[in-house]
Symmetry: C2
Subunit: 348 residues, 2 copies
């Protein structure tokens, strides 16, 4: 069933049928009625591919994320999806497994499929030529969660540093001076040797933490800043290593909910009690944070809204409007529950 069929059935020209069906141009009421009736009768459905071809618009946006299985992106995805749907857009979702090569391919393929815009959570802050090309060639692009300093594209994420600072100060207020940070970020085995890191959202956490430390006059100990904690085993090793230090941490900040989960698992295996032995604060107020023992103090992030905002900014860009700002950060907040306690006597 094509427009031609409908036109013939309605006794009008293709152009008229097309106008009536597409709801544009000028069509007499009578002609429109005949066309619509014919379309209904024939069960006509437009071929969106053909339509896209000469409008140049596909009513589709591409979303490229590292791990859709991760609750963080799942929720952001939901926000993107809801906002996009409201505007009549569909979403092509590509999961890169945090692999830059896969990201490069994905971006190219999505452009080949003529998506109207792109939302990308960049896997790396270093390999960014492909995104720069996209941006410079005028394709609407919004960076999700992570920003790239050298790329003036719009980025939408969470203003995490202030909350990280607040979390750190909350720890210091309970007497903690040996405060560790554990992240799953891949650093090719290298130890911490200064900012920035490869992923801005992790950098921002650390920036806030270091600021909180400095303000309270606590010296920064590079040996307490740890990466590569992905997976239960590696995380267990990182925690065991940290605890074996001559001056072990009395508090640990956990970079994301997956790290938090693995750390709690390691604690259980090692017989560590929170907050008796170690105090803990995790980034991201995941749903299960309230049922851990004890309920976990966390930095809550408006992830769904980040998704909504990212999509809305992209829509602005696609309409040719100026973005609200080149870097949009939504506020995070410290949600105090019971995983912070005073420093254990034996550790003081």
């Amino acid at each position: 069933m094509t427009v031609a069929d409908v036109a013939r059935e309605a006794g009008v020209a293709k152009a008229t049928a097309s106008r009536a069906l597409g709801g544009y141009g000028a069509v007499s009421d009578e002609a429109r009625d005949r066309v619509l009736a014919a379309a209904e009768a024939l069960g006509y459905r437009p071929n969106e591919l053909a339509r896209s071809m000469n409008t140049g618009k596909s009513k589709t946006i591409g979303v490229v994320v590292g791990d859709i299985e991760n609750g963080y992106f799942g929720l952001a995805m939901r926000g993107i999806s809801d906002a996009a749907k409201r505007a009549g857009y569909d979403i092509i979702l590509v999961n890169t497994s945090e692999d830059v090569e896969a990201e490069i391919d994905a971006v190219r393929l999505l452009l080949d499929k003529r998506v109207d815009g792109l939302i990308v959570a960049p896997a790396s802050a270093y390999r960014t030529e492909h995104l720069r090309e996209v941006h410079q060639s005028g394709h609407p692009l919004v960076l999700l969660d992570r920003r790239i300093e050298s790329l003036p594209a719009v980025s939408v994420g969470v203003d995490i540093a202030p909350a990280a600072r607040a979390a750190t100060r909350a720890l210091v207020a309970e007497g903690h001076r040996r405060i560790a940070f554990v992240s799953a970020l891949g650093t090719d085995g290298e130890r911490y040797s200064g900012l920035p890191l490869g992923v801005s959202s992790v950098t921002d956490r650390l920036v806030g933490i270091l600021q909180g430390l400095e303000e309270t006059g606590i010296p920064i100990s590079p040996e307490l800043i740890r990466f590569e904690a992905h997976g239960a085993e590696k995380t267990h090793a990182v925690i065991a290593d940290l605890l074996a230090l001559s001056e072990p941490p009395t508090a640990i900040l956990l970079s994301d909910s997956l790290v938090a989960l693995n750390v709690l698992l390691a604690f259980r295996e090692l017989g560590i009690k929170v907050p008796r032995d170690v105090s803990v604060v995790a980034f991201d107020d995941v749903d299960w944070a309230a049922i851990t023992d004890p309920p976990m103090t966390v930095v809550s992030q408006p992830i769904y809204d980040v998704g909504v905002t990212a999509a809305e900014e992209l829509l602005r860009l696609m309409r040719g409007m100026a973005p609200d700002a080149t870097t949009l950060r939504l506020p995070a907040a410290l949600v105090e529950r019971d995983s912070i306690g005073p420093v254990a006597v034996s550790a003081q």
Copy 2:
């Protein structure tokens, strides 16, 4: 940059350039080299929309789920995505918020965009005309997680009944005779009045449970079968109601991980201890199940594999091959941890 540009640059006809670029038909090595070089020089990228238009294939599959934010679908999505990518397919993801109308629209729109196939987790077992149409019109369709009795389309899910039966028997083995089942399924306020339910995956759980009960000679108590437990408040109400019964349950089976979370939350508020006061088994071995207090006994489901299998079955269908089977069920397993205990003395 179009094929025409490349052809001109390479000094060949459009058709030759098209063949060289598309990697089909017969092209001399020399011509191919010239075309590829020209394409490279001009930065040519194919317009996949145009390509799709006359091949009839879009290399895209549509996936329609109720809630991408839900870890279950997030993981299944990952499986689908991985399998699809291996075969060179992209995915258009639509979230329906478990709304049938949204599902109907989504299916129609995806077809308009000429997806090559569809994977749908049906929101309802009753409103299925749209899916029947899709199937009957010959479009490759795979049902995810939930099957529809009257629809002979391929469905891929988990063989949950045997595991539900095993879970029930494990409960009975510890002396439980008052065993409840709590689900988030919407039933318009109606109480349980027989099978099947609106969602086959929930029906299957109940079938297994009832079977386990019958086999062990325990009478079925309709008042212990509860629905509508979605959200923390409603779940709290359901639990409070259950516990206020003259003969309250000593064990509860939780239909999914979200229900489990809300029930644990309600327990905490009500001062109920697991398994001292109530024993618990939850469906779906969500990542945090191992860190609850105590670690939770669960029915583990191979969700990622369900996603992979669904995508692979769809690929078979799209290739015109017969499906492996019309109903594919992957095995579930009872993972025993510590949330099942003997019946409390006061309740016996």
